[in-house]
């Protein structure tokens, strides 16, 4: 779910971008690679994303990400796919056997891609 505005640690007074809990699947690939890998989008703000993956990613790696906004629209329209470019800023290894790697990435740019309608 959406979190409230809070200050970044060590940066009192600097508002943190609102995070939106969009629990949906996300595809990502390291810049230049051919294949897309699957992950889960935990939350996203205008500045960054937190995703769960089955593999660790090196800090400072440039990645491309894409996910479809999880909502079904009226009139046969489909929700857009969001394409982002980002840089990995944190990668936490799994904390248990059932856990996944948590990767935080800073968003450099984003754009929307229209999906074919359902008509």
């Amino acid at each position: 779910m959406e979190t409230t505005l809070t200050a970044n640690e060590g940066q009192v007074g600097v508002p943190r971008a609102r995070r939106y809990g969009i629990g949906t699947s996300i595809r990502y690939r390291v810049g230049g690679a051919n294949g897309w890998r699957e992950g889960t989008l935990q939350n996203i703000s205008i500045t960054g994303v937190l995703l769960c993956t089955d593999q660790p990613l090196e800090i400072d790696t440039t990645i491309e990400m894409r996910f479809v906004l999880p909502v079904e629209l009226l009139n046969g329209e489909s929700a857009a796919e969001v394409l982002c470019r980002g840089i990995v800023v944190r990668s936490a290894p799994p904390s248990g056997p059932e856990e996944e790697t948590r990767v935080a990435a800073k968003i450099i740019s984003s754009r929307f891609l229209r999906q074919p309608g359902r008509k």
Binding site: M1, E2, R18, Y20, G21, I22, I44, S45, I46, L69, P70, V71, E72, L73, L74, N75, E77, S78, A79, A80, E81, V82, S110, F112, L113, R114, Q115
Partner: protein, 228 residues
């Protein structure tokens, strides 16, 4: 969840709920004249129906909406809460689209009008007992429109919390669908400048700073005109 019909050899056990005794009696005779059907009880109001449904455990309830003490919608709620396994077919003199949607949401398996033919009534009962929903062919498109209208009005009521206008809500939906400003302008038959003006107002009202955040906010707060 409703139980499956017992076996192909067992009659479908029907409970009738209607406040008009003449209609109930006529319906009972009609149903019992058809092979494979058995009327296990008649109720003249909602409370009586609930008692009889628990006691008789019918396969199917023919439910009138306009009944004293507890109306049909209230009965549907109570039936769901009581986990009575019977499937319910609303049999009514008239019903509007939003009532159809509400009845289905409350667990009804179908709606049929009292003006229908005998054959159609039997068809509807068999259809429901086969696990399908019966709306009536002619009313399906109406129902889809009603569902969309309900979804739209729900989004509309949420949008009021943020002071959004219907036009702004429409534009938000198009943003979530990935339309650019020029495309939105064309779609809404307004100028691109007007779209920018609307977007600026939306950003201010929602406290978001760009298109991506607007879309995320809209999805999180269910502000789009979505399918229910």
């Amino acid at each position: 969840m409703a139980s499956l019909p017992r076996t192909s050899f067992s009659p479908i056990r029907v409970l009738i709920a209607d406040d008009h005794s003449l209609f109930r009696e006529g319906l009972r005779k009609l149903i019992e004249s058809e092979a494979g059907f058995e009327v296990v009880g008649q109720a003249s109001d909602g409370e009586m129906l609930l008692d009889m449904a628990r006691e008789q455990q019918p396969d199917l309830i023919l439910l009138d909406l306009a009944m004293p003490r507890q109306d049909g919608m209230q009965v549907l709620r109570e039936l769901a809460a009581a986990e009575v396994p019977a499937r319910t077919l609303v049999l009514t003199a008239s019903i509007n689209k939003s009532q159809i949607v509400q009845a289905l949401k409350l667990g009804a398996y179908g709606v049929i009008l009292k003006e229908c033919t005998t054959q159609r009534l039997f068809d509807s009962i068999r259809c429901v007992m086969a696990g399908q929903y019966w709306i009536g062919r002619e009313s399906v498109s109406d129902l889809v429109r009603a569902l969309r209208s309900v979804a739209s009005s729900e989004a509309g009521s949420r949008s009021k919390d943020f002071g959004l206008t219907p036009r702004e809500l429409e534009i938000i939906t198009l943003v979530v669908a990935g339309y650019s400003n020029p495309e939105i302008a064309q779609r809404c038959s307004i100028s691109e400048q007007t779209v920018k003006h609307h977007m600026s107002n939306v950003f201010d009202k929602l406290g978001v700073s760009n298109r991506l955040e607007l879309a995320l906010f809209a999805v999180n707060h269910q502000l789009t005109e979505s399918v229910a």
